[in-house]
Amino acid sequence: MNPAHAYLNQLTRRQFFNGAGLAMGGLALNYLAPRLSAAAPAPRLFPPLSDFPNFAPTAKRIIYLHMNGGPSQLDTFDYKPALQPRFQQELPESIRLGQRITTMTSGQANFPVAPSLFKFAQHGQSGAWVSELLPWTAKIVDDIAIVRSVHTNAINHDPACTFLMTGSEIPGKASLGSWLSYGLGSESNDLPAFVVLTPKFSPKVAAQALFTRMWSSGFLPTTHNGVALRAQGDPVLFLDNPAGIDATARRAMLDTLGQFNHHAAARHGDPETLTRIAQYEMAFRMQTSVPELTDISAETPATLDLYGSAVKEPGSFAASCLLARRLVERGVRVVQINHRGWDQHGTLPEHLKIQCRDTDQGCYALIADLKQRDMLKDTLVVWAGEFGRTVYSQGTLTRTNYGRDHHPRCFSVWLAGGGVKGGVIHGETDEFSYNIVRDPVSLFDLNATLLHCMGIDHAKFSFKSQGLDQRLTGVEPANVVKDILAGSK
């Protein structure tokens, strides 16, 4: 950092804390009087709710890797060798059970079984089966818990993504990250509690849309909205000073503004004015902390190698994973990475390969990097799409090509760190990966588990809105998936 800037920044921090502690009606401070004593540990500007966390958390922060579009469990984690001889056979009615399917395939005359084209092998001490599409993820199977029995209610992207992230298919509810920001506050005074990344995806794939409601605070105060960290333009909206205004000019303007606003606070007695002073100072600090955050030049070659060459392309999935690590290092509570393009209705083998290549090493590197920094133990990492895909082929099935439709009844998700046991395989689907036969995990259960790791009792975590105690985990009972947590047997 530029030493002059560092000084200004340090000065600001102290001014800010003095300012925030200023008694109402007090006089403005002498802004330029230097104080040389070491700064006391900074008090938290965004403290948790009282009684939060409800109990000792195993995770302090969470990184959510959302594979948008619905990755095929059949071609990644849910190994079904018995399907191979059933190539092109009709999906038995005893499996389909008349369950609804989307109107994209409901008109198909046949539902021919499409076994995965990809080879699976067992990996690690746990012997978890992983497809050849994910060679890097295969290396970390002993650090992750694979849940093969997650299910959802929604069968189309828009409601399913909304449900995954907010616990409701209908827009308007708070997202997981917003809930966590609301309940647990922020560890950082310089960065938002909840940051969202939307990395690039392969242009060869027609990608589904994202919706800002996936990181919206819904009925919670809007302060808890996820803040999108952008790969193009200002990393945080309006972060950069306008052309012609440098940090010195900005600092001078802010100094005057602070004095005006302290004067106004005295004049009006409005506590919001003091908050506003604090927010302008935080904005100024963000002008430094965010560029520092996104500048990866100080990362060691060894670390960069972990993530692969794509890490140097701004906005790549690998770069986003590295950023996620840098964010949580700096106290950000929740990082959500939304990688798009997993909606393979047709040409699945070719396109899924591209998707996996885009993300596989980044996932691996994130886990390995957190581990080498001893941060995996209290950082929860989740990898999940919004639903799974059908065992039968959508469109023409050949020996080398097939597509798969949306399948909400089962899909695979993995979790790591933050109190999650590594090397665990949880839940089981039938031989067609169509229905769950053991240990079903609803999205409510999954969210209850994430909250549990963060030290929150999901049943008690509610916010009154629209006449209801709203919960991330809905009104029906939800269960923490204890079997995948460390300390469980």
Partner: protein, 1054 residues
């Protein structure tokens, strides 16, 4: 809530909230969840003797089992029970319950469901002003119980800024301010109110909270989130406020304007209220599910906006806290089951039913077209059907006949979920052999297309009669002299593409007496093509001659010669589109006839002229990117649907439309019937494309069935219900056998309805005072907050109804009160006593809403454009707001910023994209309009600081503001004074003056040293600096105005 020691504890104000929060889930109105058969929301049950035990014994704490359970330390006994996750009651709530039981446990019905009363005014308190109106008497009476009084009136300048911002959403100009301050007449304030209410800015400003409530937006909201063109509804709302349309009529026109006798166009536009819900045509979506979601959205919005009810809880089960059963809920939904709009929006901008906005003449013409079209279309269809049958007979012996006979059998590509072109499908009649055919585009007349509509007629004349030589049909085209004449092959609805080969031909016969020097043919395309000349190569001038191909001499007179040109040979590559043929003649005279194309396609199934599926697929992919196709709205809508979204009848209509109007080989046969019908179609399309139109409500002859959805699930329909209003509210007066939307609308604004007036006045109160008398504007049920001033609320509601729902008069009533005009300063003592200002002992300080912040900056910079209404605009937006989230095929994928004046329109007109709202709005709590919002939050975040400091719109406004100061005043002192007064309306004090002067000095020094930086400051924004002041001066002043635009006082309504 405050309960001063002297207060009577009342059930509605104090007790019900406690019981509702802690007890009613198990001891309330939902019978299915009730424990121990005990209800605590009802006197009879609560006080009933159960084997010697009474839950509540009025006046007798020790015998009140409920009270004892609340006190209990035994986890088996204590209420609420630990497994309910409720905490034990805090001491304050216990004290209230204790006093209530001691005072006799008097129950009251829920206040909001009781008829609105017209309470007597409290008598003026000692020391009160004679002029105190009703509002102030109610407020002062309550304040007095806490030994408080209303604060003194705010300083006049501050008050004037408050009033101007609140009524118009814009700051006062210093001229307006000076005039007001100079006016010492007793009615000066009142006249200011009159002036502001008459400003068109008032309607724009008051429209906005309403648009939040009814979730108006410019995009569909789901999946593709494409453009939705319903801005005329937005303009109607603003105009309704400006016209001061009474609120009851405002309600009726929105819910049921279409059902009024002979509805006017504006009333139809108003009925677009019912078309503001989110919609989708996501491939794979299930119609019943989407239909249920739309219906639920309509129920929830209507009940939130007018009734303040959280009806949504009754979607899955009887409401746990309010007396709304699941049956009530779906009965309310049944009112909307007759709406004629399809569940699917086709992803198009204007899904029908629509109303075209236009004058009486246009509408008379549209009516005439609608009357004249059906018989023409029927005649055409009959002829086409006969032609098709005839082709079927020829059938296999003739390649083209077979194609025609099978054209309908190939389904369009069903998968709208992906945009990958033409995937292999289980097609039933796919030809994979090449097909060659001819299409005659002009035989007896030109084909009329929208693209030509209103343009001058083409040269030449189609003649018939003795002596006219014809090739086909009855007419031939006569050209005289040097003429260029385009022949259209389709107005864009065809997307003609060179597949394998394409040739254009025309039959020509020269006049034997005066033959032309030359004639030529040329493909019309956006690609550059070469002209082919017969006759003198120089006849069309040297420029043409340079690039032309010479085919040979002019054909000899005496008979027709077929002239032909080849697309590829004239430079039109494969897969490139073309739209017509240019026929040209130099001097002389000649006959032209039978003009068309001869094409070869690799297969019939990929050729839009041969196959309806290929036609639709081509247009669908094209139509997603381009909003305006020259086709009737209905055809565009059908094309937007995937095959599975079309009904069987709609599929048949698409096929029929293709056969009658598009099918290439049938064209020559179907003239002139096709052209007669097409001419009307084109004219209607012309109006639809060039005049604004807006989605409206229309009632189906037979409404859809309305089942109760068990557990709220679309695939679990239960008993069918009829339209009805909730049983606990006054009955509905139905005018017909089946209650209509119009009945519902009238019921909502029936003075007997206890909710609508209360809910509405509360929202206006909230808008002007910062918070409602009921703090939960969307929940007037038992879980909502009770009113802070119940009698005042009722008085206001009854007054609003009594005065004919006169909104402007009501707004005047509020802003004229002393309560509104109070000073906003707060002492630490008062802040400690009443942090939320529920007693109203001061005015609220409110951070300005997103739109007001932006509009204020534009106004101060002198940049704000005054135009009212019209299509939404796209002002500055940081890059990559839409792009990273949008679906590839969405027409709102890429944000293309407008230029010029559109950058400076009021924020009301900024394009509202639901899945990625403009940061200038969302950063400041502007809602996404995905669901009804009747009260915004008012957050205070660092992102707001960054936006106000750095957003180009704000820095440009600061720069323009600086230039204004430099131009209008001559000295620093005068400029600083004007600047400060412009933003705060008041004079700076000594300290503020010094801060400003110092700041200017600092920045001046900075920029005189760094002129390069100063130059750069001038580049912010697209408007050009207007002053001749030195650049460093403009830059320094820009920093000062940027500072001023960021003052706490500037971003706050004080």
């Amino acid at each position: 809530m405050f309960a001063a020691a002297a207060d009577q504890v009342t059930y509605n104000e104090h007790i019900r909230p406690i019981l509702a929060d802690n007890c009613f889930a198990c001891h309330g109105s939902d019978a299915s969840q009730r424990k121990a058969k005990l209800r605590l929301d009802n006197l009879a049950s609560a006080t009933a003797d159960r084997r010697g035990v009474r839950a509540i014994a009025p006046g007798d704490l020790s015998n009140s089992e409920a009270w004892q359970r609340i006190l209990s330390a035994d986890p088996e006994e204590v209420m609420p029970p630990p497994d309910s996750h409720k905490k034990p009651l805090p001491p304050t709530q216990r004290a209230l319950l204790q006093r209530w039981i001691e005072q006799g446990a008097v129950y009251q019905n829920h206040w909001a469901y009781e008829p609105v009363s017209h309470p007597a005014l409290p008598s003026p308190l000692a020391g009160a002003k004679e002029t105190d109106g009703a509002i102030d008497r109610f407020i002062a009476a309550k304040l007095a119980r806490h030994n408080l009084t209303l604060a003194p009136e705010a300083p006049r300048d501050v008050l004037f800024r408050r009033l101007t911002l609140d009524l118009t959403g814009l700051p006062p100009t210093t001229v307006e301010l000076d005039a007001f301050l100079a006016d010492r007449n007793p009615d000066s304030y009142d006249r200011a109110v009159t002036r502001l209410l008459a400003s068109p800015r008032y309607g724009e400003h008051f429209a906005r909270p309403w648009l939040d409530a009814v979730r108006y937006a410019d995009s569909h909201g789901l999946h593709l989130d494409n453009v939705r063109n319903i801005w005329p509804y937005r303009d109607w709302v603003a105009s309704a406020f400006n016209r001061n349309l009474p609120f009851d009529q405002f309600t009726i026109e929105q819910l049921a304007g279409d059902l009024l006798p002979n509805p006017r166009i504006d009333q139809l536009v108003a009925s677009g209220y019912n078309r503001n819900h989110l919609s989708t045509s996501e491939g794979g979506a299930i119609e019943e599910e989407a239909e249920a979601r739309n219906n639920i959205d309509r129920i929830n919005t209507t009940s939130t906006v007018w009734l303040g009810l959280t009806a949504g809880c009754a979607q899955c089960h009887d409401h746990k806290f309010d007396p709304i059963s699941q049956r009530d809920y779906y009965s309310l939904g049944a009112f909307f089951k007759g709406l004629a709009d399809r569940v699917w929006d086709g992803n198009i901008p204007k899904p029908g039913p629509l109303v075209v906005l236009g004058d009486a003449k246009v509408h008379a013409r549209l009516k005439a077209i609608d009357a004249a079209f059906p018989p023409l279309a029927a005649a055409l269809s009959a002829k086409a059907e006969a032609a098709e049958k005839a082709q079927k007979k020829i059938g296999k012996s003739n390649e083209i006949a077979e194609v025609v006979a099978n054209a309908a059998r190939v389904d369009p590509d069903d998968d709208t979920d992906s945009l990958s072109p033409a995937k292999p499908k289980q097609a039933t009649a796919k030809r994979t052999t090449a097909v060659s055919y001819e299409v005659v585009w002009a035989e007896d007349a030109d084909t009329p297309y929208a693209i030509n509509y209103g343009k001058p007629a083409h040269a030449g004349e189609w003649r018939t009669g003795p002596g006219v030589p014809v090739v086909g049909g009855q007419r031939a085209l006569h050209l005289e002299g040097s003429q260029e004449r385009p022949v259209d092959f389709g107005g864009g609805e065809l997307l003609l593409i060179v597949r394998t080969t394409a040739k254009a031909f025309a039959y020509f016969q020269a006049d034997p007496v005066q033959p032309p020097r030359a004639v030529s043919l040329q493909f019309i395309s956006e690609q550059k093509t070469k002209r082919v000349i017969w006759g003198d190569p120089a006849a069309f001038g040297p420029e043409v001659a340079k690039d032309a191909i010479v085919a040979g001499p002019l054909p000899a007179p005496g008979g027709y010669t077929r002239l032909e040109i080849d697309a590829v040979a004239t430079g039109l590559a494969k897969d490139k589109p073309y739209s017509g043929l240019l026929v040209a003649q130099s001097d002389g005279a000649g006959w032209w006839d039978h003009i068309g194309t001869a094409c070869t396609s690799p297969s019939a199934s990929v050729d839009p002229l041969l196959n309806s599926g290929a036609w639709v697929t081509g247009l669908r992919n094209f139509g997603r990117a381009e909003a305006g196709l020259p086709l009737p709205h209905e055809a565009i809508f059908l094309i937007g649907l995937s095959g599975t979204q079309q009904t069987i009848e709609e599929k048949a209509r698409v096929v029929q439309f293709h056969r009658d109007f598009i099918m290439g080989p049938l064209r020559a046969t179907l003239e002139p019937e096709a052209n007669a019908a097409r001419r009307l179609l084109v004219e209607r399309t012309h109006y639809e494309m060039t005049l604004p139109s807006s989605p409206v409500s229309r009632e189906l002859p037979t409404p859809h069935p309305a089942p109760i959805l068990l557990r709220g699930q679309y695939d679990k329909p239960g008993e069918l219900v009829s339209p009805a209003t909730p049983a606990f509210l006054p009955p509905l007066a139905a005018t017909g056998a089946r209650p209509s939307r119009l009945d519902l609308a009238r019921w909502l604004v029936d003075p007997k309805n206890p909710l609508t007036a209360r809910v509405t006045v509360n929202r206006f109160w909230q808008q002007l005072f910062g918070a409602g008398l009921v703090r939960t504007p969307g929940d007037f049920g038992t879980q909502g907050d009770p009113p802070t001033h119940p009698e005042l609320l009722d008085w206001l509601a009854s007054e609003f109804v009594r005065t004919g729902w006169d909104v402007k008069q009501f707004v005047r009533l509020l802003v004229s009160s002393r309560a509104y005009r109070q000073d906003s300063r707060v002492t630490p003592e008062l802040l400690a006593l009443d942090p939320e200002n529920k007693l109203l002992a001061r005015s609220a300080r409110l951070r300005l809403d997103a739109e007001v912040l932006r509009d204020q900056a534009l106004a101060l910079g002198g940049l704000l454009r005054p135009e009212i209404g019209g299509p939404p605009v796209r002002p500055y937006q940081p890059i990559n707001i839409w792009e990273p989230v949008a679906f590839g095929g969405s027409n709102t994928k890429t944000y293309v910023q407008d230029r010029g004046d559109a950058l400076y329109r009021r924020s009301l007109y900024t394009f509202m994209k639901r899945t990625a709202p403009a940061p200038a709005m969302s950063t400041f709590d502007g809602p996404s309009r995905e669901f009804s919002c009747v009260g915004r939050s008012r957050s205070n975040t660092p992102l707001q600081a960054l936006a106000l400091m750095n957003d180009v719109q704000h820095i440009e406004a600061a720069r323009a503001f600086a230039e204004r100061l430099l131009a209008e005043k001559s000295t620093d002192t005068k400029r600083l004074a004007l600047a400060f007064r412009s933003v705060t309306a008041r004079q700076p004090d000594t300290r503020e003056r010094k801060l400003l002067t110092d700041s200017l000095t600092t920045h001046r020094a900075h920029f005189s040293r760094d002129t390069a930086a100063a130059d750069k400051i001038l580049t912010n924004g697209e408007s050009k600096p207007a002053t001749t002041a030195p650049v460093a001066e403009i830059a320094a002043w820009t920093m000062v105005t940027n500072l001023l635009l960021n003052l706490d006082e500037t971003v706050t309504r004080n």
